[in-house]
């Protein structure tokens, strides 16, 4: 999962937890007389609140409806952020002539993964282009055997596979991230 939504989830859920604690804590404190016995016996919806809403009903309810729609929109954005993988489907390629050329992201990343799989010690590799930044990012996952020279595999990916990838796509800037998984020579790898 991308770091952005991970941080967003953590921040929003922490704020929500604090809001729930504050609301529940205030309700309990008031109910147990922390602000005086008279206030503990007040109805939940006091007269002053009812009068305020009745006196301002010409703008209060339209504003409440708009805020509800805003909350619904934020909920939709938050939900979509969880479902999105941010993988780039197509990549624009610089062309000299008129027109617009795009490369299928999966084709480019498959070629890169095949390059890496040829290196000694590598059992399998996969790559995907990740979006939401003006400079594309390539996330590479490599399963290497336990006895592989991890540093050498990294160097070859950096110096050879990624250099070829950049040059083939004529990318001047490319952010990259390599994720290594260690695998038993005979068995399967785990995350």
């Amino acid at each position: 999962m991308r770091r952005g939504p991970v941080r967003l989830n953590s921040a929003v859920l922490t704020l929500l937890a604090l809001a729930l604690l504050a609301a529940g804590g205030y309700g309990l404190a008031r109910g147990y007389g922390a602000f005086g016995d008279a206030r503990a016996g007040d109805p939940l919806l006091g007269e002053s609140m009812r009068d305020f809403v009745a006196d301002n009903s010409d703008w209060f309810w339209p504003l409440a409806a708009v805020l509800s729609l805003l909350l619904a929109w934020l909920g939709l954005r938050w939900l979509l952020a969880q479902l999105s993988t941010a993988t780039v489907g197509r990549l624009p390629v610089r062309a000299d002539g008129p027109g617009h050329t795009e490369l299928l992201g999966s084709g480019a990343t498959s070629a890169l993964a095949r390059d890496i799989e040829d290196y000694p010690g590598v059992r399998s590799a996969s790559a995907r282009l990740v979006g939401d930044h003006p400079v594309p990012e390539i996330a590479i996952t490599v399963d290497v055997h336990d006895d592989a020279d991890v540093a050498a595999v990294r160097r070859r990916i950096e110096d050879h596979a990624l250099a070829r990838f950049r040059s083939a796509l004529e990318l001047t800037k490319l952010r990259s991230q390599i994720h290594i998984r260690l695998a038993d020579r005979a068995g399967r790898s785990v995350r």
Partner: protein, 174 residues
């Protein structure tokens, strides 16, 4: 942990979407003096005018809010194990999957003469290894396993290798 947050976020996002839309529709419906569409807000309104802060039903609701808030806060503050460990800085940032590293260290430990099996758990700063020996006396296995795993972590190139703590269980301990 990340998965739990993601599921929670998806459920809450869906709840906000549906809840927000329903409330907006209810406000419009109420504006035309129609009966509530989905939410019995007229009952809630009457109840909120009659019930006081110190009555039992609101109190239970507040207790529920505090319990939910505490559970959510504890979930966020829980010390989570890293999903991956960063490798030494290079031209391209790289990391190694924590679970695959744990299994790799298990295999490395099991290669040592006298160790039948090992189970590693990597936390934020330390790696705890429980090695099972096929010897009656574990002897000097602890430093041997510890040194082998330190060498392995260095060979992989983990940027901040966790401190390895080994516990050997001999045949006599089982």
């Amino acid at each position: 942990m990340r998965i739990a947050n993601r599921v929670l976020a998806a459920v809450l996002g869906l709840g906000l979407l549906v809840g927000g839309l329903i409330v907006a529709v209810e406000i419009v419906v109420a504006g035309f003096d129609r009966r509530p569409w989905v939410l019995p807000h007229d009952d809630w309104y009457r109840s909120a005018r009659q019930r006081s802060w110190d009555s039992a039903p609101p109190r239970w609701i507040f207790i529920g809010l505090v319990a939910a808030g505490l559970a959510l806060l504890l979930l966020q503050l829980a010390r989570r194990r890293p999903a991956a460990l960063a490798l030494t800085p290079g031209a391209v940032p790289a990391d190694v999957g924590r679970r695959s590293l744990e299994r790799s260290l298990d295999r490395e430990a099991a290669r040592i003469d006298g160790v039948a099996a090992a189970k590693t758990k990597i936390g934020k700063d330390k790696a705890e290894v429980v090695a099972t020996s096929n010897r009656r006396q574990a002897g000097d296995l602890e430093p041997a396993v510890s040194q082998a795993l330190d060498r392995r972590l260095a060979a992989i190139g983990v940027a901040r290798p966790p401190t390895v703590r080994v516990k050997v269980q001999g045949r006599g301990d089982r």
